[in-house]
Symmetry: C3
Subunit: 268 residues, 3 copies
């Protein structure tokens, strides 16, 4: 896998569940499991993290964008992760999460998320770590952490209140309120919403234009903007990952997940 990533600047690569390309100085990461609504496997955490860390050092990449293939941006954790995490050990699973989120925190170039459709869970929380978030009209933002007996990650506990105001952030994080694209625009979580039919083209132009700006100005200005938050972001990531390790092993979480499967079974 790493060999593929190291070769990033010379050609587009199809990883297992990602499509990665570098065109016009733009690194494009596309979640590529459309048949599973781009649900995140543990491998994908590591793949995305590695691609970001590699692109951080690659001077051919001036800006990066993240998007999903098909109608979903990403439905969040793949159900297989539950058993995988038990096998891997919860401390190791926590480390996977920690490293994934740190890859977003540390990425030094403009990072633009293009939310092409519904997003659930960690693909929502990590949006606040992207510099700019665009949404298509069909995008939704849903973090049902409580109903699964879990807790926020991706620095959402720190950033959502800052971006949305505390009341809406707590509705989203504690009550699992799902935001529409327009609601996300209204509260400042995304800054542009496009019609689905024009989404890819419109975003493509904006990202390309960004990557044509002076690279050093971009990197140094992003650093300036991030600097006052950096320690708090690292700290939030640590605290969130630690709490989730505990939650995953809690009785409450086990029961909530069992109830989730029961509800899902009844639906079918």
């Amino acid at each position: 896998f790493l060999r593929h990533v190291r070769a990033l600047s010379t050609s587009a690569r199809q990883l297992q569940n990602l499509e990665v390309s570098l065109t016009d100085s733009v690194l494009k990461i596309q979640f590529n499991r459309p048949e599973k609504f781009n649900a995140f496997t543990l491998d994908m955490y590591q793949e995305v993290g590695s691609v970001l860390n590699t692109a951080a050092k690659d001077s051919n990449c001036v800006a990066a964008m993240i998007t999903g293939k098909g109608p979903y941006y990403s439905s969040g954790n793949d159900l297989s992760n539950i058993s995988m995490m038990a096998k891997l050990g919860y401390d190791n699973a926590g480390k996977v999460l920690l490293d994934y989120v740190n890859a977003y925190i540390d990425f030094p170039k403009p990072l633009i998320a293009a939310v092409n459709g519904p997003a659930i869970g960690i693909p929502v929380t990590t949006l606040a770590l992207c510099d700019i978030v665009y949404a298509s009209q069909s995008a939704t933002f849903h973090t049902p952490f409580m109903s699964l007996g879990q807790s926020p990650e991706g620095c959402a506990s720190l950033l959502f209140p800052k971006i949305m105001g505390s009341s809406l952030a707590n509705e989203v994080l504690l009550q699992g309120r799902k935001l529409s694209a327009d609601e996300a625009l209204q509260c400042g979580f995304v800054s542009r919403v496009f019609e689905d039919s024009q989404f890819e083209t419109s975003v493509g132009k904006l990202v390309k234009a960004t990557a044509q700006l002076p690279p050093q100005s971009l990197v140094l200005s992003k650093q300036l903007i991030r600097a006052p938050m950096m320690a708090a972001l690292k700290d939030a990531n640590q605290r969130e990952a630690k709490l989730l390790e505990e939650r995953w092993q809690s009785e409450e979480c086990a029961q909530a997940i069992a109830q989730f499967f029961e509800r899902a079974k009844k639906k079918n």
Copy 2:
């Protein structure tokens, strides 16, 4: 009084100026002086604080809501407080304020405010310390601190700029701009507005649903969200209470309050 509060989990209680109940794991605190627009006496500060502190430790309470009886949420400080504070000593009055606000800061469970009508003064500022704020269409938010020669409390000096942006926060806190429910929604100070006729029912459902979520997930997630602000909240409360103690004893404040009474007399 404390005996009443200690018995909280077993039954609903009618305190002097509060109605307190515990149903479906929801503690409901209702300001209950409708004939005085729910104006706050010094006793009420202590009653609300004690109820919150007691409910914090009561496992039968999963979430709490605060609302007002009648057309007002609360018109703020009762006029009798002016002479009461002089009698009590301004340092003791400052301590009452400090403890009251700390009860909001420290409450560990979801705290939801249901602003059923106009709110003035400290009932407005402490909303920002609630996790979620709902408003009825007839709610308004007014903090005329300057025209009374006073200064902000309830951590508003810290939280209003974070929630509303600095320009609107300063209009509200320094110029006494009164916000409508829709303006409060627009700026993120509240996150849902309901028609007056549907307010109680709609809020009731949302609060009940919150109290059915896994309690430990709620408490630990709230703790996570609050953690980065906790020291700053305590500090803001200290500084605000200290400044108000000084303001209450200032010539400027005495004159402003005298002018307020003159204006009120002319109106009648």
Copy 3:
């Protein structure tokens, strides 16, 4: 110049590029180079800074407002500044910037910006350091720092994300997205927008009313509101000025400015 400023409280003064008056306890600073769209010369940085610092200590001034003469608020740095800065030395130019921004940070009384038309560059960033920002319908807000190979100043790197949310702030600061008055209202950057024809009158009334409030309440409350940010503001100003000193001497910046002049030449 300083003699003029020292005499501030006794009469209105026409400085070289500023019109300064003190009426009804309101200090009014008006950028006065309408034929140059109120472009900022290095002298103007020092003039505005000195006027603010003087008014800070003048008890006849209770509140201050800043606005522009003619159709523009201010088009930002005058093109002459580029050669002036080289002559002055970039460290000295950085010091001029640092002192100018500190005059905004340190101003202890209500500071109200009345953005009467388009604003570009540092006249935009310093708005976030004003307590209240009003805009006329024709106002726009544009910070094309990246396309000139530069970086944000005026504490914008700290304050824009706090006010607008990170996504829009990064569009504005990194992509140079220009905001309309309504967009600036929507995101909380300004808190009132008026029709152009009513702008001066409406703002005049609001500012005058502010200056009639109890002066000590205003000063102490502003201090309370600013206190939690003060160290971070000073720090942001330092980091921003230092980075700009480096940018001004960079190859990238020189090229970007050369390209800007080429584009401007082609237009004519």
